[in-house]
C-alpha cells in the first residue's frame, strides 16, 4: 500500500534561517506531488505541485521554493525565512489527472521566531 512521510512534524526556526521540509511517498510510481499551506479560516493554499522529476509549478509567488530530485521525493525550501512563513505545511500526492483523490501527510507546524 501507499504511504506518505513528511518531516519534521514541528519546527521552530529563527528569522533569516534556511528551511528544508521533506516529503517522500512509498508504494507508487510517478505520483503528482503537492505542497500546501494551511491557515486558519483560509483552508489549504496550493504552493507548488510537480508532475515529474525536476518539474515544478508554482501557484503563489513567495519566499519559498520546491524541488523534486527523485520520483517520490518533494522538498520545500527557503533560503531566508520570514515571520510570515509560519504556518502548517502539508505534502500530498495523487496519480493521473482525474478520478483519483489526493492523500495527505501528517503536516509540519513551522514557527518562525
Amino acid at each position: 500500500s501507499q504511504t506518505i512521510h513528511q518531516w519534521p512534524a514541528t519546527l521552530v526556526q529563527p528569522v533569516g534561517s534556511p528551511l528544508s521540509l521533506e516529503c517522500t511517498v512509498e508504494g507508487t510510481s510517478n505520483p503528482n506531488l503537492y505542497w500546501y499551506r494551511q491557515a486558519a479560516g483560509r483552508g489549504l493554499q496550493l504552493l507548488f505541485y510537480s508532475v515529474g522529476i525536476g518539474q515544478i509549478s508554482s501557484e503563489v509567488p513567495q519566499n519559498l521554493s520546491a524541488s523534486r530530485p527523485q520520483d517520490r521525493q518533494f522538498i520545500l525550501s527557503s533560503k531566508k525565512l520570514l515571520l510570515s512563513d509560519s504556518g502548517f505545511y502539508l505534502c500530498a500526492w495523487s496519480v493521473g489527472t482525474t478520478n483519483t483523490e489526493a492523500f495527505f501527510g501528517q503536516g509540519t507546524r513551522l514557527t518562525v521566531v
Partner: protein
C-alpha cells in the same frame, strides 16, 4: 480560475442534530469533487468523493453528499451528528492535476 466556496465558517450543533454543509465550485466542465475531514490533531482524511454516475454519494461514518450540476454544488449531509464528528471539513475539486480546496467549515458538536 477554479475556486471552491463553503457557506459556513463555523457550525455548532447538538448531538443527534442533522448536518448540512454547503459547498459550491466554480468550474463548469468535468470535475472531481471531494469532502475531506481533519479531526483535531490529525491529518486530512477523505470522507467521500464524486467522479461520475449517481449524484448521491455515500462516504464513511454515515456522511453523504449530493452533486447538483445545475447549482454547481456538492453539499455534505449527515442525518444525526455525534460528538466525535467535531472536526474541520474541507470541500475540494480537482481539474487535471490541481486540487483546489475551500476555506473549510469548523463543526463543533455539543454533547
Amino acid at each position: 480560475a477554479q475556486s471552491v466556496s463553503q457557506h459556513n465558517h463555523h457550525v455548532i450543533l447538538s448531538e443527534a442534530a442533522s448536518l448540512e454543509l454547503g459547498c459550491n465550485y466554480s468550474y463548469g466542465g468535468t470535475v472531481n469533487l471531494f469532502w475531506y475531514v481533519q479531526y483535531p490533531g490529525q491529518h486530512l482524511q477523505l470522507l467521500l468523493k464524486y467522479f461520475s454516475g449517481d449524484p448521491l454519494v455515500k462516504g464513511i461514518k454515515g456522511f453523504e453528499a449530493e452533486f447538483i450540476k445545475s447549482k454547481f454544488s456538492f453539499n455534505l449531509r449527515k442525518p444525526s451528528v455525534q460528538w466525535s464528528d467535531t472536526a474541520e471539513y474541507f470541500c475540494a475539486s480537482r481539474r487535471g492535476q490541481n486540487f483546489v480546496f475551500g476555506p473549510g467549515t469548523r463543526l463543533s458538536v455539543l454533547p
